[in-house]
């Protein structure tokens, strides 16, 4: 065999075939699935939907009055999902405009064919808006605004000014919202940076799109600039009751000096000032909430937010509201707060304190104060005892309704002695209600028979777990005047009266809220709050337990599964619930009265 060396050079020669499969290149055309041009008398909005497998980096739209694009303006579109929008201003009616798109996918660029539209004054659909000149330019704020001279045939649903540090700002940059409809408006630009050039233009929105006014350029000052009064707006009035309401405001601009006071002022005459009734709700810019109290029921008030700096006091727009009709006055012996006890909306007043009884004079009364309890002295219970007791076995109203033990001094520990009307199946308010303590005239509770009564267990349950209040709060554990217990807040309670901790918490401690006597009287009780003290109970005849530690309050409902039990409301430092307890044991009684 003859060996011969060889040299082979190959240049770009695929002579037969490749052994490796080559991927097949896919070519996608950018498809415009919809294209819409809407215009006002001075501006146009071009909105295009497109289809392309990856995001576009930008789309520039070039517009000119000539199809040679000799003099043209270029607007960079806002791209959202598969839509790009470009806006042009300073156009004129009855002219033809040419435009084209330049798409970039981040790698290369494609330019579309030239399109055109005729700005026909008769076919305008966008609002026509004029940008006001920029004024009161300061370090971090400036005033501008606009005027909508034509709504384009569709209601203007949004207007304001938009600004940016780049040209052609849009509503995708910073913007204000200054109402709706046609007309003039003033806009306050805040949060600006000192010594910075900004571009601003007014905008208006209707269902056909967004139009813009002429662009203005301005530069913020370095430092305070001219000091003016603050800019403040008035919030809506909410939570209106017969004597109170909630309002507030927003101090959007300090005016270039510290805002030293802010709040709301109100009067029964228009244009209230801080010389009228007013709140003080802190200092500085931002949002604040104001509580109006001591209002007169069924009265129309005018209210404005205010903000004060070294230049003076500025007021927000005036709002008006009318207080509710006053709640019916609570009768003698009742706390003036309404509590809903069932889904029918029936409401009750609570008695001013726990029920007490003096055997020596056969007298019933309510404790003077909501936190009062007799405590250990309940162990002295007897037919002739001259002190007061406040722990009673179930159904011991003193009226002989058929039970073996119906006297309030009863200490038998045989549960069958306490069947209401002598029958295991009856509740206290069955028959004509004689087994309920409220059957008796209460000396300091109107002294009439059968007007007070005990809540059923379903009513206790609704009161604690279901009812709806303005504040959203139903109860809170607390220490009032040094006494442990539970506060029940009435339906018209508003949170701003007092910020209760751990509201509606079943297992929280009493010390979640510690409330002094003066605060209780001036803030809680005057607004209808009820306090149930931890008065303990009396067990096995005369043994008093749990005074100051827990509370048991009878319901009028027997227990349906255990004949020796009746149902009650129980709470202590770790619990709060409806419960069952022996009929023969002494518990607190808190009577209620139907609200008329």
């Amino acid at each position: 065999m003859k060996k011969t060396a060889f040299i082979l050079c190959v240049f770009s020669a695929l002579m037969l075939t490749t052994c490796k499969k080559m991927p097949e290149l896919k070519v996608y055309d950018l498809k415009l699935t919809s294209e819409n041009v809407a215009y006002s008398q001075t501006s146009a909005e071009i909105k295009v939907e497109y289809d392309y497998p990856t995001n576009l980096e930008y789309v520039n739209v070039t517009m000119s009055e000539s199809n040679y694009f000799g003099y043209s303006i270029v607007a960079q579109s806002e791209i959202i999902d598969s839509v790009f929008i470009a806006n042009f201003v300073d156009l004129h009616t009855d002219k033809k405009y040419y435009y084209k798109f330049e798409y970039s996918n981040g790698v290369n660029v494609v330019t579309s064919e030239v399109r055109s539209f005729y700005l026909d004054a008769a076919l305008v659909t966008l609002p026509t808006v004029i940008t006001m000149e920029v004024s009161e330019i300061q370090g971090t704020s400036a005033i501008c605004g606009g005027e909508i001279i034509d709504d384009g045939g569709y209601y203007v649903t949004g207007r304001g000014v938009c600004w940016s540090t780049h040209r052609n700002p849009t509503i995708f940059d910073n913007y204000t919202t200054d109402g709706m409809d046609t007309g003039s408006y003033t806009s306050t630009m805040t949060g600006l940076s000192e010594h910075t050039v900004y571009y601003v233009r007014a905008f208006a929105i209707n269902e056909k799109g967004t139009s813009y006014g002429t662009e203005y350029e301005f530069e913020t000052t370095e430092g305070g600039g001219v000091v003016i009064v603050p800019t403040v707006t008035t919030s809506n009035v909410t939570d209106i009751t017969s004597t109170s309401a909630i309002c507030g405001g927003v101090v959007a601009n300090s005016g270039g000096a510290d805002v030293t006071a802010r709040g709301v002022c109100w009067s029964t005459t228009e244009n209230p000032t801080i010389s009228d009734a007013h709140t003080s709700d802190g200092t500085g810019t931002g949002t604040f909430t104001s509580s109006l109290t001591n209002l007169t029921p069924q009265t129309t008030y005018y209210i404005r937010a205010y903000a004060t700096n070294e230049v003076g006091t500025a007021y927000g727009e005036q709002k008006t509201f009318t207080t509710e009709q006053d709640s019916p006055n609570a009768p003698t012996g009742a706390i003036n707060g309404l509590f809903t006890i069932n889904e029918n909306g029936d409401q009750v007043w609570f008695s001013q304190g726990n029920l007490q009884y003096q055997a020596s004079t056969n007298t019933w009364r309510f404790a003077d104060n909501q936190w009062d309890y007799v405590g250990e002295d309940n162990s002295n219970i007897s037919e002739t005892y001259s002190g007061w007791i406040d722990l009673f076995a179930w159904g011991t109203s003193g009226y002989n309704h058929g039970a073996n033990c119906y006297q309030p001094w009863s200490t038998s520990i045989t549960h069958t002695d306490y069947f209401a009307y002598g029958d295991v199946n009856y509740n206290l308010n069955d028959q004509t209600g004689q087994a309920d303590w409220g059957f008796n005239p209460i000396s300091n509770g109107g002294n009439n028979s059968n007007i007070w009564y005990s809540l059923s267990i379903d009513e206790w349950d609704y009161l604690l777990n279901t009812r709806t209040t303005i504040s959203g709060i139903r109860f809170a554990k607390a220490i009032v005047n040094g006494i442990n217990g539970v506060i029940l807040v009435p339906e018209n309670w508003i949170s701003s009266i007092y910020d209760l901790n751990n509201p509606d918490s079943y297992n929280t401690d009493f010390d979640s809220n510690t409330i002094s006597l003066s605060v209780w009287l001036d803030t809680f009780e005057i607004n209808g709050a009820v306090f149930l003290s931890a008065a303990g109970n009396r067990r096995y005849g005369t043994s008093v337990e749990g005074v100051g530690t827990y509370g048991h309050y009878w319901s009028s409902t027997r227990d349906y599964s255990q004949e020796n039990m009746a149902q009650d409301f129980f709470f202590d430092n770790t619990d709060l619930r409806t419960s069952v307890f022996h009929r023969c044991d002494g518990q607190s009684v808190r009577l209620v009265l139907d609200a008329q």
Partner: protein
């Protein structure tokens, strides 16, 4: 599609088999360009006249690229390679006419077969 490019191919971007450049899908024209350049040296064994076998080793460059709408090219790095090139094949002489068949691999990543015709003196 041209298979010949004696100047080599200058590309501006790179992609893989998904054709994406930095996550973006370029505007392609659909034109695909393949170039190869190799230099091989080796030995030839004459089995019997007119058949001879030959084997060689050298260096090769192969590039696949796609043209974009702006005339620039995107190189597909998944199917482009450069490095050691090995060639093995045979030729057959019909008088002065020579027919050759070679199998070539570049970097053992890319394979192809080459059929050649020529004149021998």
């Amino acid at each position: 599609m041209s298979n010949f490019n004696f100047k080599g191919l200058s590309t501006d971007f790179e992609c893989g088999n998904d054709f994406l450049v930095d996550g973006n899908y370029p505007f392609y024209t659909g034109k695909e360009v393949y170039t190869s350049l190799s230099a091989i040296g080796g030995v030839m064994f004459r089995l019997t006249n007119p058949i001879a076998l030959r084997i060689g080793v050298g260096y090769g460059i192969r590039t696949t690229a796609y043209e974009m709408t702006d005339g620039k090219y995107v190189k597909n790095t998944d199917v482009s390679t450069s490095g050691v090139e090995v060639s093995a094949g045979a030729h057959y002489r019909f008088g002065k006419l020579v027919v050759s068949l070679d199998f070539v691999t570049t970097n053992f990543k890319y394979y192809e077969a080459k059929l050649g015709f020529g004149m021998g003196y």
